[in-house]
C-alpha cells in the first residue's frame, strides 16, 4: 500500500505532463487551422529579413529637425513597437534626418499607423458643433488652401473669461468655420492650432465639424492608458472598446476644473461637451455627465480591439515630437546569411551529442533519464515558442537560438543537482527508493530557489528593458518555467518508477546508482560519522592553515609541515591562535 503511493503519484504526474503537451499541440493546431498560426516559429529580422521603412519628418520649409528630437522620436517609436509584442525591431536614425525602422515580416496598416502617427492628444471644450455642408465638400478643389492654412483666429474683441466662453468665436472664425471642409483634414497638417487658440476641425468620420476652445488638458499629462471594454454604471459590458486614461497630478487637477465648469453648462449644449482631439481630429466629444475628479476619463470612438490597443500604447508612451511620413517601405533580406543559422544549428547538434556522451559517461543509464528529459523539454520549448510566436509576435533571433542552447545547461543542471542529491542519500546508506524521495525533497528546494532567481531576472528585464533585451528575457523566462515543469513532472516521476525496477534497485554497475561505487555498502547509516571523525586531524590542519592566513607563505608551509608530523599538537596550537585573534 505505502509502496504504491509514489508509483501512483508518478504515473499521475506523467499523465498530466502528457495532457499538457497534447494540449499545447492542440492549441497550436487550432491556431494553424483558424488563427493564422504555423508549425514553425517565426524568425527575427537577422535571420529572415523583413520590411525596412524610412520615415521622413514632416516639417515646414526651412525648419530643421534636431538630433535630440530624432532621438526622442526613436525612443517613443521603439516603445510603441515593443508594446505590440516581442518582435525585436531595429530602429535607428539615418543621416541626422530620417528614422529607419526595420521590422520582421510584412508591414500592415496597423503597424504603420502605430509607428508613424504623432499621436498628440489634446482635450478641448466644444464651442460650436455643426454638420458639414455639401457645398464645402464640393468646394474642396476651389478653396483647399485657406482652410488648410492653420490661421489663428483674429483676436477676440472681448477677452474670453474661460475656455468655454463663446467670445472665442470671432466673426472671422465663424466665417472660416462656415467654409471649412472636412475633407481637407485628411491633408497633412491642416488642422493644427496653437494650444492657447481655438481650433476648427472635424471628427474622424467627417460627419461633424467643430469649433473647439483652447487646450485644457494635454496628452503629456497622461500617466497611463489602457484599452478596455466600456462598462455601464451597473458594471455590465457594452461590447464597445474604449481607452481608459489615467492623468497625472496636474492633469487630474486640470481635468477636474474643466469637468466642473462643463457640468455647470449642462443646459446649453454643445457647451457641455469636450473633445478628445488626436492629431487634430476629434476622436469623440462626449457631454460631461458628472464631475470627474479622479482623473480617469475614458475615450470612446469607433475603435476595434486592435485600434484601441494601438492608440492606448501611443498615448501611454507620449506623442512624437515631430510628425513623420513614410518615405519608402521595402523588403529587406536577412542581415545574417542563412549559412549563419545553419552553422549555429550544426554546432548546436554537435554540442548536444557531446553533452549526451558526457552524461552517459557520468551517469551511465541514469544519463538516459537526463537525455529523455532534455528531449521532452525540447519538444515543449519548441511548441511553446511556436505558440508564442503566433499569439505574442515572438520571433527567434540568432541570439535567441544561442539562448536556447545555453538553456540546455540550465535545464540539465536541475537533473544534475537532483541526481547528486540522490547519490548523497545512497552514500548515507539509504535504499534507492527512499534515497530518491529524500534526495528529491532536498533537491527540489534548491531547484526552486535557483530557478526563482532566473525567473526574477527574466521578469525584471522583460518589464524594464526594451528592444532585443526584452526578447532575451522572454526566452529566459519561458525556458525556466518549462525546466521546472519538466523536472517535477517528468524527471522525478521517471526516477521514482525506475528506482523500483530491478536493474536500478539492485544497484547494477551500469545504473549510475551503484551504492558500492558510491561507497555506501561499507558502512550503514549509523556508521556514517566514522569517516567524518577520522578526517578530523586533517581538518584541524586545515584550520591551522586558516589561522595562519596572515602569515607569510613560508611560515604557513612550516606550519603545515608541523601539522602533518604532529597532528595532535597542532590542534591545540590552532585553538590558542584563534582564541587570540577573536
Amino acid at each position: 500500500m505505502a509502496k504504491s503511493t509514489p508509483v501512483k503519484k508518478a504515473w499521475r504526474s506523467l499523465s498530466w505532463l502528457a495532457v499538457i503537451i497534447v494540449g499545447l499541440f492542440a492549441i497550436n493546431a487550432a491556431g494553424v487551422m483558424w488563427g493564422g498560426g504555423s508549425w514553425t516559429p517565426k524568425l527575427a529580422l537577422d535571420l529572415e529579413g523583413g520590411t525596412q521603412i524610412i520615415l521622413a519628418p514632416k516639417t515646414e520649409s526651412g525648419q530643421t529637425v534636431s538630433q535630440e528630437q530624432l532621438d526622442q522620436a526613436v525612443t517613443i517609436i521603439r516603445q510603441r513597437v515593443d508594446a505590440s509584442g516581442v518582435s525585436e525591431a531595429e530602429i535607428s536614425t539615418q543621416g541626422g534626418q530620417n528614422i529607419v525602422v526595420a521590422i520582421p515580416g510584412e508591414l500592415d496598416d496597423e503597424t504603420r499607423n502605430r509607428i508613424q502617427s504623432s499621436s498628440k492628444l489634446e482635450l478641448r471644450p466644444v464651442l460650436v458643433a455643426g454638420t458639414p455642408t455639401d457645398q464645402s465638400v464640393g468646394g474642396n478643389t476651389a478653396t483647399p488652401e485657406p482652410s488648410a492654412e492653420p490661421t489663428p483666429a483674429a483676436t477676440p474683441s472681448v477677452t474670453p473669461s474661460n475656455g468655454s466662453d463663446l467670445a472665442w468665436v470671432t466673426p472671422e472664425l465663424q466665417a472660416q468655420f462656415e467654409t471649412f471642409d472636412c475633407a481637407s483634414t485628411e491633408a497633412e497638417t491642416a488642422n493644427a492650432a496653437p494650444a492657447d487658440q481655438p481650433l476648427i476641425t472635424c471628427d474622424d468620420t467627417g460627419t461633424v465639424k467643430y469649433i473647439l476652445g483652447p487646450v485644457e488638458v494635454e496628452g503629456a499629462n497622461i500617466s497611463d492608458a489602457t484599452a478596455g471594454m466600456e462598462t455601464t454604471q451597473s458594471g455590465a459590458s457594452t461590447g464597445r472598446w474604449v481607452i481608459n486614461l489615467v492623468f497625472d497630478g496636474q492633469g487630474t487637477k486640470d481635468f477636474a476644473e474643466v469637468s466642473t465648469r462643463l457640468f455647470g453648462l449642462k443646459s446649453t449644449p454643445p457647451l457641455d461637451q469636450f473633445a478628445f482631439v488626436l492629431d487634430g481630429q476629434v476622436l469623440s466629444a462626449p457631454a460631461m455627465n458628472g464631475i470627474i475628479t479622479d482623473g480617469r476619463p475614458s475615450i470612446s470612438g469607433n475603435f476595434t480591439e486592435a485600434s484601441a490597443k494601438a492608440l492606448a500604447d501611443q498615448l501611454k508612451f507620449g506623442a512624437l515630437p515631430i510628425s513623420f511620413t513614410v518615405q519608402s517601405s521595402e523588403t529587406i533580406s536577412a542581415t545574417l546569411g542563412s549559412s549563419q543559422l545553419q552553422s549555429g544549428i550544426i554546432a548546436g547538434i554537435f554540442g548536444l551529442i557531446l553533452v549526451i556522451i558526457y552524461t552517459l559517461f557520468q551517469y551511465r543509464l541514469l544519463g538516459m533519464v537526463t537525455i529523455a528529459s532534455l528531449v521532452v523539454a525540447a519538444i515543449m520549448t519548441y511548441i511553446t515558442i511556436t505558440i508564442l510566436s503566433w499569439t505574442q509576435g515572438y520571433r527567434l533571433s540568432l541570439a535567441g537560438v544561442a539562448g536556447l542552447i545555453v538553456a540546455i545547461g540550465f535545464t540539465a543542471d536541475s537533473f544534475i543537482v537532483y541526481f547528486e542529491r540522490v547519490r548523497d542519500e545512497l552514500r548515507e546508506g539509504r535504499i534507492l527508493t527512499s534515497a530518491v524521495e529524500a534526495g528529491w525533497k532536498r533537491a527540489v528546494r534548491t531547484i526552486f530557489a535557483s530557478k526563482a532567481t532566473n525567473l526574477l531576472a527574466a521578469v525584471v528585464l522583460y518589464l524594464v528593458a526594451v528592444g532585443s533585451v526584452r526578447g532575451f528575457a522572454f526566452t529566459l523566462g519561458v525556458t525556466t518555467i518549462i525546466d521546472v515543469i519538466i523536472v517535477i513532472m517528468f524527471t522525478h516521476p521517471m526516477l521514482q518508477l525506475l528506482s523500483r525496477t530491478k536493474f536500478f534497485s539492485s544497484g547494477h554497475p551500469w545504473s549510475g546508482l551503484d551504492p558500492q561505487a558510491l561507497g555506501a555498502v561499507y558502512r550503514g547509516r549509523a556508521e556514517f560519522r566514522k569517516p567524518a571523525a577520522s578526517l578530523d586531524p586533517k581538518k584541524a590542519a586545515s584550520s591551522a592553515r586558516e589561522a595562519g592566513k596572515r602569515q607569510t607563505i613560508a611560515e604557513r608551509k612550516a606550519a603545515e609541515l608541523a601539522a602533518a608530523s604532529h597532528g595532535a599538537s597542532t590542534g591545540g596550537d590552532t585553538k590558542t591562535t584563534e582564541g587570540k585573534e577573536s
Binding site: S92, S333, S339, A347, F350, E420, A452, G519, L535, S569
Partner: protein, 338 residues
C-alpha cells in the same frame, strides 16, 4: 573513469578527500584580484572596447538598380578598401543592396562607393552613402542598466530573505560583479566586437552566475544551519565541506553547459565562420566557466569570511576546537601509555 568520478564524489561527500577552498582563500583572492586588475587595465591600455556599429552607428551605402543583388560582391568591395571593417550586407527590395560598415572617413567613403559601383557594375551615381545612427540607442542602454540595478537589488533582497542572512547576498553579488568584469575584460583582450548579441550573452551569464551561486549556497545553508549547534566542524569547515559536496555537481554542470557553447564557439565560429555566433558564444563560454568557479573560489570563501567574525560562530568554533584538542590530548596520552 565514471566510476572514479563516483568514488571521487564519494570522497568529497564524506570529507575523506577535501579541497581547501575556504581556507586558502587569500590565494584565490590574489588570483581573482589579478584577473580583475587585468580585466580593468586591458581596456584602458587598449583604449576601450570594440563596439559594433549597432552601438556607435556607422556608414551606410545603398546601391540601387543592381542586376544581381547578391551579398558577396559588397563584402569583397568593402574589404578591398578597408580590410578590417565588418560589413553587414542585406538586399533591399529586388534590385537594391544595403551595406553598413563602421564609420568611415570621407576619403574611404568615396573609395568604397566607387568599389561598390564597380562590384555591381552600376554607375557611381547609383550608390548613395549616408550616416546611420546606432540601432542600440542610449535609451536601450539606459533601460537595460536600470533593469540590472532593479534586478540586483531584488535578487539581493530575495536571497537575504531566503537564506536569512544578507551576507550571502553580499557574497553572491560580489561574485557576480567579478564574473561580469572578467567576461567584459575578455572582450577587450581579444578585440572581439561587442554587439547586441554579445550584450545578451553577458546578461545570460549574469543570470547563470546568480543561479549557480544559489545552488551552492543552498548546500552551505543546509550544512551550516541544520545541525549548527551540534556540528563537529567549525563554520569555515562546514562551508568548505558544502562546496566540496557540490563540487561534482559544479564540474558536471559547467561541462554540460559549456559543451554546446564551446561547440558553437570553436566549431561554428572558427570552422564555419559565423561571426555573430562567435561574438555571443565567447561571452557565454567564458561566463559559464567563470560563473561556476567564482562561486567555488570566491563567493563561498567570502561568505565564510563574513560570517566567521560573528559572536555565535566564534563561540561555536571555539567549542569545536576545544573538543578537538581534548580528543587529541587523550589520543596522545593513550599513545604515551601504550
Amino acid at each position: 573513469m565514471a566510476n572514479r568520478m563516483a568514488t571521487f564524489g564519494n570522497d568529497l561527500y564524506t570529507g575523506k578527500r577535501s579541497f581547501n577552498f575556504v581556507g586558502k582563500r587569500n590565494t584565490w583572492y590574489i588570483i581573482i584580484g589579478a584577473l580583475l586588475l587585468a580585466a580593468i587595465l586591458i581596456p584602458i591600455v587598449k583604449g576601450g572596447f570594440n563596439f559594433g556599429i549597432e552601438f556607435r552607428g556607422g556608414s551606410q551605402f545603398v546601391v540601387t538598380s543592381v542586376a544581381d543583388a547578391s551579398q558577396e560582391p559588397a563584402i569583397e568591395a568593402v574589404a578591398s578598401v578597408v580590410p578590417e571593417a565588418v560589413a553587414r550586407v542585406s538586399t533591399v527590395g529586388d534590385s537594391g543592396v544595403r551595406v553598413q560598415t563602421d564609420q568611415l572617413t570621407q576619403e574611404q567613403t568615396s573609395e568604397v562607393a566607387t568599389a561598390l559601383a564597380d562590384a555591381y557594375d552600376v554607375p557611381v551615381s547609383e550608390v548613395a552613402s549616408s550616416f546611420i545612427g546606432p540601432v542600440w540607442g542610449a535609451d536601450i542602454t539606459r533601460q537595460t542598466i536600470q533593469g540590472l540595478i532593479v534586478l540586483l537589488v531584488l535578487a539581493a533582497v530575495g536571497m537575504a530573505l531566503y537564506f536569512r542572512t544578507w551576507k550571502m547576498s553580499l557574497a553572491a553579488i560580489g561574485a557576480l560583479l567579478v564574473d561580469l568584469i572578467v567576461t567584459v575584460g575578455i572582450y577587450a583582450a581579444t578585440g572581439f566586437e561587442i554587439t547586441p548579441a554579445a550584450v545578451i550573452g553577458i546578461l545570460t551569464i549574469l543570470a547563470y552566475s546568480l543561479y549557480d551561486t544559489v545552488v551552492v549556497f543552498d548546500k552551505i545553508r543546509e550544512n551550516t544551519t541544520e545541525d549548527a549547534v551540534k556540528s563537529k566542524h567549525t563554520f569555515a569547515e562546514s562551508t568548505n565541506l558544502a562546496v566540496n559536496q557540490t563540487l561534482v555537481r559544479s564540474i558536471n554542470t559547467s561541462v554540460v553547459a559549456a559543451l554546446p557553447v564551446a561547440a558553437i564557439l570553436f566549431f561554428g565560429a572558427f570552422v564555419l565562420g559565423a561571426d555573430t555566433l562567435r561574438d555571443i558564444s565567447l561571452a557565454l563560454f567564458i561566463g559559464i566557466l567563470v560563473g561556476t568557479w567564482s562561486t567555488v573560489f570566491l563567493a563561498a570563501p567570502l561568505y565564510s569570511q563574513l560570517r566567521e567574525g560573528e559572536k555565535d560562530v566564534v563561540k561555536h568554533d571555539k567549542q569545536v576546537l576545544a573538543a578537538r584538542e581534548k580528543a587529541a590530548a587523550a589520543a596522545s596520552a593513550d599513545a604515551v601509555t601504550a
